[in-house]
Amino acid sequence: MKNCIIFLLIILSQLANSQNCNSTFLGEVKDFHDGSPLYGATVHLKELNKYVSTDINGKFKFHNLCNRTITLTVSHIGCETKEKQITINGDTFDTINLEHHSEELDEVTIKGKSVTKKTTTAQETVLKQEIIETYSGASLGDALKEVSGVSSINTGNTIVKPVINGLHSSRVVIMTNGVRLQDQEWGIEHAPNIDINSAESISVIKGSGALAYSGDAIGGVIVLNPIRAIAKDSLFGKTIMSGQTNGRGGSISTSLTKTYNKGWFVSGQGSYKQFGDFEAPEYYLTNTGLNTKAFSFQGGYKQFEKGFDVFYSYIDNTMGILSAAHIGNTEDLINAINSSTPLISEGFSYDINNPKQEVTHHLIKTKFYKRFESLGKLNLQYDYQNNQRFEFDKRVGDDRNKPAVDLTLQTHSLGADFKFDANKERIFHIGGSFRYQDNFANPETGVRRLIPDYQKFDIGAFITSEWQFNDATIIDAGIRYDFNHIDAKKFYKESRWIERNYDTDFSDIIIEDIGTQLLVNPKFNYHNISASAGIKHELNKIASLAFGYNLANRAPNPSELFSDGLHHSAARIELGDLRIKQEQSHRLSGTFTYNKNAFSAITEVYYNLINDFVYIEPSGTEQTIRGAFPVWDYKQTDARLMGLDITLNYQLHQSWSLSNRSSYIKGDDTKNDRPLIDIPAFKTLTVLAFKKAKWKNLKSSLKSEWVTRQSRYPNNNFVEFIATTNTNELVDISTSTSAYHLLHFTSSITLNLNTTKKTPIEIGFNVNNLLNTSYRDYLNRFRYFADDLGRNMMLFIKINY
């Protein structure tokens, strides 16, 4: 359309004044952001092949022009070259805006392998594409362990949740393609519904400082960035195939992107994963298979000044739950803990039987942006998410194939923000968001709802600022306010209502009494203030220091408030508490970065004080006809987390390098003066790597992973009478696992089969747990039942095109 208009204009101008060639064109070249004139820009008049430079005021002139359309190409150091067509009709004046901030350009164009950080002074690590690709067949949680200070809390080996500096679940916000993931992230056995293959880079921001995303990320924020489009005509894509021995399965992932120089782009991506039963060194982990289907589409228009995109993604995960982990009561739990091997272990199978989880997640997003000259950039966004979660249990009779949990969580979000970046030394970012969420727990399951029906409204607003104090010092600060309103309708058993003493505190919220159960309508409001301030100072060319303070308030999630029932897979009764209030975190952090010649080091320290920290731990047992069950209660206390994360790299030689990542964390319940539960043990990873471009770009590494025993854990063990043996036995649910050491090997080469077309093929061979070591990890909920994974040999092929 635009082309047509220009073409018409050309013809019209030619017809009208074909011979008038006395016009002067006066031009002005300005910086788009702050409107300042650009001196020394080169202006090329294409039709006449003439060059001029701009003067100190950014001005330039061309004389004796005919009345026609001319094409100017304007270039300036540090700017993107711009081409503009101008219709000359008598003496003409026009302004040409150039883009002067190279870091801003990364947002719209691909700059090779460059990676932009999302924050200025926060403790942020970016995982690049080449690292993400090696986890193509694995999960997000596995890949994030590449970051020092990030571990995972697992339910078996397929449900992997990231833990940032000892915090997880609702305290870690996951942003995918600019959308805050809403996938019932509260539960430990709820893995993030993300296909890692859809991300081009992943940023891990420790602490809650990234206020533009959220105010309640007490642990941190994980930002997944999709494949970016560049404004030029091209078609590119890649396919990664991997196969592995452990689980006897593999994955395939393909992506394809088409871009046009006008700024239009369209891309698609799909992945498929299939694994059967995984294997510990000495036995099969029966019913631990996994099947994942995922795809995403994106299309839009992207120019520097304005653009929009529409994004849709879908993921369907079916995950088997270790058969041996399905237990009936405390006695079964004792038997499982006391048995050195899982009580159910059969031969290999691809079948995924009950218990299992089946989760689908749809995400639709549309975003629009526009840049305003000498002002900044406006973003508008709407997104919708639909999370459908089924949990199947071992059931009898007609209910055999009925899910025991059937939850549909729908979320609509609307967001707007404006970044004032005209003055690059003083950037302001303001924004607001509105979110509506509806959870529906299907009563057809025939099992009482663990999480009730609820509606939730969230409103948030923030302002952040970045101030380049001087060449070496940058300061940032921000404040955010969030309002949360939750309106639930929940049935309580009368016996539970009384046992919790709700009859005295909450008698006014009962809306119906149906005999054995009460229908109640809890409505809660939470006002949350969060704030952050940070400073980063470059001591010299090789070293820099950063300090930060984050204040965050997090409202309790539905699980902490409303959980009520027996979790079969865990053999425990989980109870939320309506009285739980917000938790508040004060986090202080310091970062020292050193980078000289062959050596680089990043040292991050933090001190996180959390008032009214919400946690769950065993508080006794309850007798039912099935026997006794441990009761796990959500409680609040004051917590203190402090730790140290270190990342070291040393280039030993041209081809050899040595690196280490270590993290130590100490978590305490300061109210009760004892250690916090589920705090990761000290971990150190050392990698010896070899790289040689001449040898088909051979890359190889040997990785040593050493995890010590967590000696600091709260003792929640209890003694239970065991009817069948007529004895009292200790139920040891607290003791942590032994230290372990694993070796991993990776290698890859790149072949250029067709040198003219530049379609390199990368072939890799990796071995995890090289020595087939048997181990269990303290942060795996299935540590009572079975060992972790044994040796896994993996072959992968990556084709770029």
Partner: protein, 186 residues
């Protein structure tokens, strides 16, 4: 709050999305598979008074403990024919769970541990393995003791000792476990 809610709903409308079953009152869930009640009936061979052992937990997994009743004393050195019935009394009328277990007998087995006498299975599943819905109890001499009844779902019936009623190697998950204590044998 009301304004806020209206504003929220208005915004939603603008974004032209349809959703949800908003202010509907949720339907209560009546738990179908809950076993609230187990009754073991012991009938002396050759006639006499039946003894029933009952456990009833009407709030299922709730905090209330099961109510246990023993109808009367057993007679020493006597063989009783025992039967077990299971039901869910949270439903009206009460649902009979015995039939379900009986239909899936190959996936279920009762185990008995007792100090008042010896217990032998009196029924089998389709594979000829014991189930335990029917059994015989031969009492010892006069004493006071316990009887524990355990129902395992998906036990390994072929494991060593399991067909003789030894629970040690049975595995599976526990559906019922209840101890009747203070049973008088006179």
């Amino acid at each position: 709050m009301k304004i806020l809610k209206n504003l929220a709903l208005g915004l939603l409308f603008i974004t032209l999305t349809a959703c949800s079953n908003d202010d509907d009152t949720p339907i209560p869930v009546n738990e179908e598979e809950v076993i609230t009640t187990l009754i073991a009936t012991l009938s002396p061979q050759g006639g006499g008074t039946d003894v029933t052992l009952t456990t009833r937990d009407l709030d299922g997994d709730g905090p209330d403990i099961p109510q246990i009743t023993i109808s009367g004393p057993l007679v020493a050195s006597t063989t009783y024919n025992g039967t077990i019935t299971l039901s869910n009394e949270t439903e009206q009328p009460a649902e009979d769970i015995t039939a379900e277990v009986s239909e899936e007998a190959d996936e279920h087995q009762f185990f008995f541990t007792s100090s008042i006498g010896s217990i032998v299975y009196a029924d089998t599943d389709s594979n000829g393995s014991p189930v335990g819905l029917a059994f015989t109890l031969t009492t010892n001499t006069a004493t006071t003791g316990n009887l524990t009844i355990t129902l395992r779902h998906e036990p390994s019936k072929s494991a060593s000792g399991v067909s003789d009623g030894d629970i040690t190697n049975a595995g599976g998950s526990t559906d019922i476990q209840i101890t009747f204590s203070g049973i008088i044998v006179q």
